[in-house]
């Protein structure tokens, strides 16, 4: 009820309000390519966002490949230093360790791929 009264009071305009309205009134501005420019900018922004993740992932991968190879070689050398019975004991305790690691890597790759497709 109160809000209706407020709305009615807002609508009751005196001559001064009508005069101000007529002074503030202005002709509509023609679009003249304005909306097309905005939409082009929006589309460009969308493409940039879509490309950013894969491009940076590739750059990161390219940068990381050398140290990663070094790490793998170092790990292989380290494993050769470990006593053979320790390695065989670990394999006995967790025979599925290799499959788990491989599965986790595949899952991560699939999730990243899906995310890119959805985006």
């Amino acid at each position: 009820m109160t809000s209706k009264i407020i709305n009615m009071a807002e609508r009751i305009k005196d001559a001064e309000d009508r005069l101000l309205e007529s002074m503030f009134d202005s002709a509509p501005i023609a679009d003249a390519g304005f909306s097309a420019t905005v939409v082009t900018k929006v589309r460009r922004g969308l493409w940039l966002r879509r490309l950013t993740l894969p491009v940076f992932a590739m750059i990161g991968g390219a940068i990381a490949i050398k140290p990663l190879t070094g790490l793998v070689i170092a790990a292989t050398r380290l494993s050769s230093l470990l006593p053979q019975d320790f390695l065989s004991r670990t394999a006995e305790l967790m025979p599925q360790a290799q499959i788990i690691v491989l599965g986790a890597m595949l899952l991560a790759a699939c999730m990243l791929g899906l995310r890119t497709i959805v985006d």
Partner: protein
């Protein structure tokens, strides 16, 4: 009717990132947003730049449109924020230039009109400060209700009403608007 259509377009944008739907929204509201900013800045080029910024921000923030009020009210809120931020930025820029000893000839983005082509409205707007000008334009040029202006400016409805009252007082003091009415 237009409100419902706007809400449908917003739903399409949010669900499908539909740029065509956004283009339709821009086409519908560009005139009001540009007019609002032209009246705030007093400069066509600045106003059009700010309008583009405003629509780009609207695209980024479209998920935050709750759908409770009108879309144009929400859009004018972004336009007003864009205007205030741009003004703050150019003020900071002018201060830095002054500090390094340059004569600040920067475009201050405050209300400025060319002396040779001053209209009645521009004279009238020149006596108001930014906040008063924005609220008066939202009320008398864009036809927003006090509630919508309150949402757009983040000020209580009572403050909006008192700003309108104060602005009208200022206009009355500076201009005999009754004379204008009778020619």
């Amino acid at each position: 009717m237009a409100n419902g259509d706007d809400h449908q377009l917003v739903a399409r944008i949010v669900s499908d990132q539909d740029t065509a739907a956004f283009g339709e929204l821009v086409r519908r509201h560009q005139s009001q947003v540009r007019n609002f900013l032209r009246k705030l800045t007093g400069d066509i080029a600045t106003a059009d730049d700010l309008s583009q910024d405003c629509f780009m921000r609207a695209w980024d923030k479209i998920q935050t449109f709750s759908g409770r009020g009108s879309f144009i009210g929400w859009l004018l809120k972004i336009a007003y924020t864009t205007f205030l931020q741009s003004k703050r930025k150019s003020k900071r820029y002018a201060e830095i230039l002054e500090q390094v000893g340059h004569v600040a000839e920067v475009e201050s983005r405050s209300y400025s009109v060319q002396a040779d082509e001053v209209t009645d409205l521009e004279k009238l707007l020149a006596v108001l400060n930014d906040e008063e000008r924005a609220i008066m334009v939202m009320s008398y040029a864009c036809g927003l209700s006090h509630r919508e202006i309150s949402d757009a400016t983040s000020k209580p409805v009572g403050t909006v009403k008192s700003v309108i009252f104060r602005s009208k007082e200022k206009i009355r003091t500076n201009f005999d608007i009754k004379d204008h009415q009778h020619g």
